[in-house]
């Protein structure tokens, strides 16, 4: 079963400087009980993608083509606002970088967790019991007595765990996690990833995990897509991409990660050039102006080259293996 | 500027303000009468080509008095507002950036001054100094300064710990430099809008005080004084009340529309909410 199936999604924004293609022909699927990572640097369209799925695009944004099929039925790209609102928080839950986005500072944690369960029809006591169980799952010590406390009485790491507990309270089919560990310290980040992994297995939901941190994606996700300038340039299982990336952008991105270096190097690898202006996309391959493998063929849009299994890359030269780049 | 004209209310506001300002500046050209010249033979005249708005109980040309009254109204409104702004900004910056104890004392003073009712304040000042143009300016400043200073203080406090201010401090920048270059330019915008919206309030204060005889001394023309003359002689001619009231209403509306349009242009979020 596929929980989320995004097909040829394109999103445009109307800006003062003209139309901006924020997403172009984005396709990927999130299978049931799997974690899919979305990796990319700033400006790659990660936020636009999440907002499109959640039906929260800004007023000047518009889905120009494509479908977002949720649980094999509804097309979220065409769903009315009321039905969309009914899905959010119940079937599709979200966790963001800043947990205070999900927590109301003036209400106790217990009250907020009760409020999420308004559709459950449970008594107040049963709701609180479920809240306590959920807080225990996210490893908040002594949850019974902490229900009465307010968000500011918890540490940053605990706040994020409470936000996760609230997101998973209604056992959603899909959890969208947008850089949930970026603001946390390393020791907490690792703990939060472990927690998300356990919870996902426990509850049996799918996770769409957005991050710029390659290490986090590698640890948490089964499959991943790599985005650049609003396009999916490569997708496959996490193992395929980390061991056998074929798109030059993915290869360079992996090479740039200092976590791959086990010793000091005289010069850190970088990606020359800058992101193209999305109002005037370069002809052909979107990465071509920064790519050292680019030739005249790259001036025409490359096909999605299948590399076996689910692995594919949008590149004319997808045959060069990763080892030759990082060596 | 083009943005203001695109909004119908903004265009109307700008037109009204332009008319009032221009007629005040060119009062001497637009009329051949002197504002205080009494003409007993022409009392309570209705509007005519000779007297566009008629005459009052002393036979003075009302159109002329309205034009010259506009001068007074605008001079006081703009002068007093500008003075309030300058004093408010300076006090606000000092309170926000200075030591904590000074801030506490200044806040106490701001709140104390602000808690006086305007009318009582006006009466007290007039009793002390006698009715005059300066009394009006002083009242306006006492009413406005605490509010402006408080807003500037709060914004200064917020920016005081901002990274770009810390960076300037770490370079060894002086307090005046930090306040003038790194703080004030970032907080002055919203205040200017607020101040422009206060101009009509000041027009009303001046008119009100002059109406009560606490402001500009007769025979100097003032819209409030004209209004007062009108009320005293309402049985003989209703034109005087109209001549005194209409410019107050139009000026107030003009500045309010203009201020609101400016605010919306600078901060579109406020507009969507309303």
């Amino acid at each position: 079963m596929t929980v989320l199936d995004v097909r040829n999604l394109s999103v445009d924004f109307q800006t003062e400087g003209g139309r901006l293609e924020a997403l172009k022909q984005v396709s990927f699927t999130v299978p049931a009980n799997r974690s899919v990572g979305v990796v990319g640097e700033s400006g790659c369209g990660k936020s636009t993608l999440i907002n499109a799925v959640l039906g929260l695009l800004a007023d000047n944004g518009e889905i120009t083509s494509g479908e977002i099929v949720f649980e094999g039925g509804k097309d979220l790209a065409r769903l009315d606002a009321d039905s969309m609102r009914a899905l959010r928080g119940q079937r599709i839950a979200t966790v963001f970088q800043d947990p205070m986005g999900a927590l109301n500072p003036v209400l106790s944690v217990g009250r907020q967790m009760r409020d999420i369960q308004y559709r459950s029809g449970l008594s107040k006591r049963d709701k609180d019991a479920r809240s306590v169980a959920m807080l225990r799952k996210v490893r908040i010590p002594d949850p019974e007595s902490r229900l009465a406390q307010f968000p500011h009485e918890f540490s940053g790491g605990m706040k994020q765990r409470i936000a996760i507990a609230m997101a998973l309270m209604m056992e959603p089919a899909l959890l969208i996690a947008d850089e949930p560990t970026t603001a946390l310290d390393a020791t907490l980040e690792v703990a939060t990833i472990e927690l998300l992994k356990d919870l996902q297995r426990d509850i049996g939901c799918s996770v769409l995990f957005i991050s710029h941190h390659l290490g986090v994606i590698a640890e948490l996700c089964d499959e991943m897509i790599v985005m650049y300038a609003g396009e999916v340039v490569e997708s496959g299982t996490t193992r395929e991409i980390f061991h056998d990336a074929r798109h030059p952008y993915t290869q360079r991105l992996l090479a740039c990660d200092p976590a791959r270096l086990s010793h000091r190097v005289p010069r850190l690898p970088t990606i020359a050039g800058t992101l193209p202006d999305l109002r005037h996309r370069p002809p052909g391959c979107v990465f071509q102006p920064r790519c050292d493998r680019a030739d005249t063929q790259c001036l025409t849009v490359p096909p999605r080259a299948s590399l076996g299994g689910s692995h594919s890359a949008r590149c004319w030269h997808a045959e060069v293996p990763l080892a030759e780049v990082t060596a | 500027m083009r943005g203001i004209l695109r909004e119908p209310l903004g265009a109307l506001g700008l037109t009204l303000v332009a008319v009032v300002v221009l007629s005040a500046i060119f009062a001497g050209v637009l009329t051949s009468y002197a504002p205080s010249k009494i003409s007993p033979t022409e009392r309570f005249a209705s509007p005519s080509l000779l007297h566009l708005l008629g005459t009052d109980h002393l036979g003075r040309d009302l159109f002329t008095r309205v034009l010259y009254g506009g001068r007074i109204a605008l001079m006081i409104a703009l002068g007093a507002t500008l003075a309030s702004l300058v004093v408010g900004v300076v006090l606000g910056l000092i309170a926000g950036y200075g030591p904590r104890w000074l801030d506490n004392i200044m806040l106490l003073v701001f709140d104390a001054v602000k808690s006086f009712p305007t009318v009582m304040l006006a009466l007290t000042l007039v009793t002390l100094f006698g009715p005059s143009l300066y009394a009006v300016v002083l009242v306006v400043m006492l009413v406005n300064v605490p509010g402006y200073a408080r807003i500037i203080r709060t914004q200064t406090l917020v920016l005081k710990s901002a990274e770009h201010v810390m960076a300037a401090r770490s370079m060894g920048a002086s307090a005046t430099r930090i306040l003038g270059i790194h703080i004030l330019p970032n907080i002055i915008g919203p205040i200017l809008i607020l101040v422009s919206m206060d101009v009509p309030v000041v027009v009303a204060i001046e008119a009100g005080m002059s109406f009560l005889g606490l402001g500009v001394r007769p025979p100097t023309p003032s819209w409030g004084a004209i209004l007062n003359d009108g009320f005293a002689n309402i049985r003989d001619s209703y034109w005087i009340v109209i001549a005194g009231g209409l410019p107050i209403v139009l000026t107030t509306l003009g500045f309010t529309f203009l201020g609101e349009t400016l605010r919306d242009l600078f901060d579109p979020r406020l507009k969507r909410r309303s």
């Binding site: 390393a186 703990a191 390659l214 590698a218 990660d257 | 810390m166 770490s170 060894g172 270059i181 970032n186």
Partner: protein, 325 residues
């Protein structure tokens, strides 16, 4: 003081008052020591990294060195001069030679100033406006690899990496001897991170700069710092040569930090040292060794007796039962 050392910090303490009058009347603790007896020295031309998690006091320490935060005890000797207790006026010439870079690449630039004004500000502050400022701006932009026409841009028109370069240019404007950089790569994409670190390394080599880098990113430390110190609750728990600490961490906290780095390899088998519980509050420091509440190696002695720093060669360690010995 050894001949080569540029900055010598001894037993430095910085504290904050928290809570108001009510807290004081209720008898609650009202002082927290954010930096608690820190000692280290930085050699000329070398780079020293301060590593710690949020709340460890590393930023406060940096601000104390620059005089933005008064130190309550200890000494800071910079190029032979004692800095603690200097007035703002006394600090001014020091700040010219010891500029500081702040975390937020865009936020640390004044939003209404053009890049040109930002870059000429150090000259204006230190009374050097008589220099040919146009030439200086061009020189600085070239040094950090930005095109000339960037002088006319404003901070909001810059990407994170470009803004960071402007920040670097401003820091090196007056030929400093020591640059203090608080999280120089925070908020930057990985591909841009490398560029900034390469730039900092280049400038250090070319200008003979010394650098003090504050970061929570251990990968950054390894690529840029000669020596490093690990901070926990305002104290240094371990300091020494970067490579030595990376290969053989001796403090259990250092070891846990190093193991907590998610690595880009899905098949990697992790031997994680997971730290239980949260960081204790500075208002209620644990007794004995302050790390014992979270330490996987803690023994009864650790909760009663505070370990003293042990100096071995040029490394320093505060632990009763060090690892890798």
């Amino acid at each position: 003081m050894s001949a080569g050392s540029l900055l010598e910090v001894n037993d430095l303490r910085v504290s904050f008052r928290v809570g108001g009058l009510s807290a004081r009347l209720a008898g609650r603790a009202t002082e927290i020591e954010a930096v608690s007896g820190v000692s280290f020295s930085l050699d000329r031309g070398s780079t020293f990294a301060l590593v710690g998690e949020s709340g460890s006091g590393k930023t406060t320490l940096a601000r104390a060195l620059n005089g933005l935060q008064p130190a309550v005890a200890g000494s800071i000797r910079f190029d032979g001069q004692e800095l603690r207790g200097l007035s703002n006026a006394g600090m001014k010439p020091v700040r010219q030679r010891m500029p500081m870079m702040f975390q937020d690449p865009v936020g640390s630039l004044s939003p209404r100033l053009s890049v040109r004004s930002l870059l000429t500000e150090p000259f204006a502050i230190h009374g050097l406006s008589n220099r040919d400022l146009d030439t200086e701006v061009r020189r600085l932009l070239a040094l950090v690899g930005l095109p000339r026409d960037f002088a006319e841009r404003y901070p909001h028109q810059l990407s994170g990496g470009q803004a960071r370069r402007v920040g670097v240019a401003r820091a090196i404007a007056l030929d400093p001897v020591l640059v203090i950089a608080d999280e120089p790569t925070a908020g930057l994409d990985v591909s841009v991170q490398g560029e900034v670190l390469n730039l900092l390394n280049d400038l250090r080599d070319r200008m003979g700069l010394s650098m003090l880098i504050i970061t929570h990113n251990l990968h950054v430390v390894r690529q840029i710092a000669d020596r490093m110190a690990v901070m926990y609750l305002g104290r240094f728990v371990e300091q020494g040569e970067t490579e030595a600490i990376f290969t053989k961490p001796r403090h259990p906290y250092t070891a846990a930090l190093l193991s907590a780095n998610p690595e880009p390899d899905p098949d990697k088998v992790h031997q994680r040292i997971s730290l239980p519980a949260d960081v204790p509050s500075l208002l209620a420091r644990p007794k004995g060794c302050e790390f014992h509440t979270r330490c996987p190696q803690a023994q009864p002695r650790c909760s009663t007796e505070a370990p003293l720093p042990v100096v071995v060669g040029d490394s320093r360690l505060t632990c009763h039962f060090p690892l890798n010995t």
